[in-house]
Symmetry: C2
């Protein structure tokens, strides 16, 4: 009901009975206008993301765990240890409590897995038809890892590019669910918190980890183009890119390019060549990095080239617009 | 268009041409997945709020400056100096660029006034009819003021309660605009950044400032009930509460209670009695505190009592539900 977001007694009851049940902790429980975070180191990372995925439930996850993993991963790839997140809900009047509880339970489970504390939050309710079931914003604060020196400006010709996970599952699972395509392939989101894997990489390899990005909106093609700069571009071998067979077949069927698609539990990283083998071992030892592959290397020029199976090189550009909107 | 939020080339152009134009700064310009904040002190405050106000333009402001002031004030009343905010937009497809620019310009002006840096952001676009023009989330990080020792647990019988501003303008201005009531009274939002006033109070009075709250959703009645505890309640003199004449007349006409209404530029604070006169002088010297008044004091018992003009005492309870939803 609208009154659950209006700040009166019903808001207070909603927060105590629902929110604190899933997320209660000493920082949040004080319910002040702002949370007090102590023992903060001098260098922190700060990020935000709003999640509007449609539908809110899809194979392998829902908007709740997506909202936690997305912000955790944005901090992780910056070289930070995610510590605190905020959780701000915009609810459509009439959203079933059972659905909300499922979403919050999934968010709480992922927050626990990632080791982040929900420090503050907000709840608004808008009339029916003024949002689409639920939108969630999470902002996050991470403590920079001491050994991190991540900067795309450090990328040099000869550096190695690794993709951590199999691509395509998230976007295609959401699309299949949204448009009721009825495709019976094993498609599900890869949504997962990657902060343990990224921390292990940085702790072991320090400044030899030069860039990390989670392969979200715009897909691998966008991320690589963002990392390509004046000093180096990339040459990627199409055959080495880890893609699940079900995703490959579904994308081919639909005429879509997996390299333009958002993923929620896969990263690309660029490392010194001498760190490549160790990085691969570390990533493959993590449950979310089993499919890690060296997919290419940094080359002269600022472009991103894709070497296809037939040996042809084509320019890999970011997609112009909406491959698939509302994917996160 | 949907593609402006899909992460491809159009998203990138939108961010460079629009977002960086209004909010560009060295931290934001790097456009990494997370912003790196250096020289952070050990104690910080962290808060978040989503803004869904309807309509998005109203007398005296719009959703953009509201989103900045709201988060700035949540940090300010916690005893922090607001330093960084995030800005996350959920846009309805078809929102006019001219309207968006007005909103962002207002947000940028308030961020400048408050001295906060927009450190990170996000933009999503949802199809027509899936949100209501624009929703904005701002999260904020503040550096705790050294002299701050704000805790409602420190409130003792005899402490003084001050309200900083004239109440009622924001809610009634929004209501008048939303329902096209056509009331010709001088009603406008009080939305303003109060961090300079709160910092001046804390720097001068330190631990004698025991509690501060901005009087937002749920109004003065909710805020006072949240501050009332086991050790003390409050006795408030109705006649002393600063209310603008136009707001008083309009509320009477509509049969609404101003004490249940949200404000966006007014705070209540509880101080040691020996600090009251100095606090009043400091607040009245601030352009947003000119109407500051001592409105009551902390008394035995955990209740909030309202002494009316006729000398009757009534129990002041928080509103049950929605006096006016989507007010911020």
């Amino acid at each position: 009901m609208l009154s659950h977001g209006a700040g009166g007694q019903q808001s207070a009851a909603f927060i105590k009975r629902i929110i604190l049940k899933y997320f209660g902790n000493p920082v949040l429980n004080s319910l002040e206008d702002a949370a007090l975070l102590k023992n903060t180191p001098p260098d922190i990372a700060f990020t935000t993301d709003s999640f509007v995925v449609d539908p809110v439930f899809f194979p392998g996850g829902n908007i709740g765990d997506l909202a936690v993993c997305g912000t955790v991963n944005d901090l992780a790839v910056r070289g930070a240890r995610p510590k605190y997140i905020s959780l701000s809900l915009i609810l459509e009047e009439g959203l079933a409590f059972a659905d909300l509880k499922k979403i919050l339970a999934a968010a709480a489970a992922r927050a626990k897995e990632a080791g982040v504390t929900v420090a503050c939050g907000d709840t608004k309710v808008v009339p029916r038809g003024k949002c689409d079931k639920i939108f969630i914003n999470t902002a996050g604060i991470g403590h920079m890892l001491k050994n991190a020196a991540i900067s795309p400006a450090n990328i040099r010709v000869g550096d190695i590019v690794i993709a951590s996970g199999a691509l395509g599952g998230h976007s295609l699972a959401v699309m299949n669910a949204r448009h009721k395509l009825g495709i019976k392939a094993d498609l599900k989101t890869d949504s997962a918190p990657l902060n343990k894997m990224t921390a292990a990489l940085i702790e072991a390899l320090g400044p030899r980890v030069k860039a990390m990005r989670d392969i979200t909106r715009g897909g691998l093609s966008t991320v690589l183009n963002e990392l390509a700069g004046k000093r180096a571009g990339f040459e990627i071998e199409e055959q080495k890119i880890p893609v699940l067979p079900a995703a490959r077949a579904t994308a081919a069927l639909l005429g879509l390019d997996i390299l333009d698609m958002a993923n929620e539990g896969s990263i690309v990283c660029v490392l010194s060549p001498d760190a490549a083998e160790r990085a691969l071992r570390i990533m493959r030892a993590d449950k979310y990095g089993k499919n890690a592959q060296i997919i290419g290397r940094a080359v002269e020029g600022g472009k991103v080239l894709l070497a296809t199976a037939l040996g042809v090189h084509r320019l890999l550009r970011p997609p112009l617009g909406d491959v698939l909107p509302r994917i996160c």
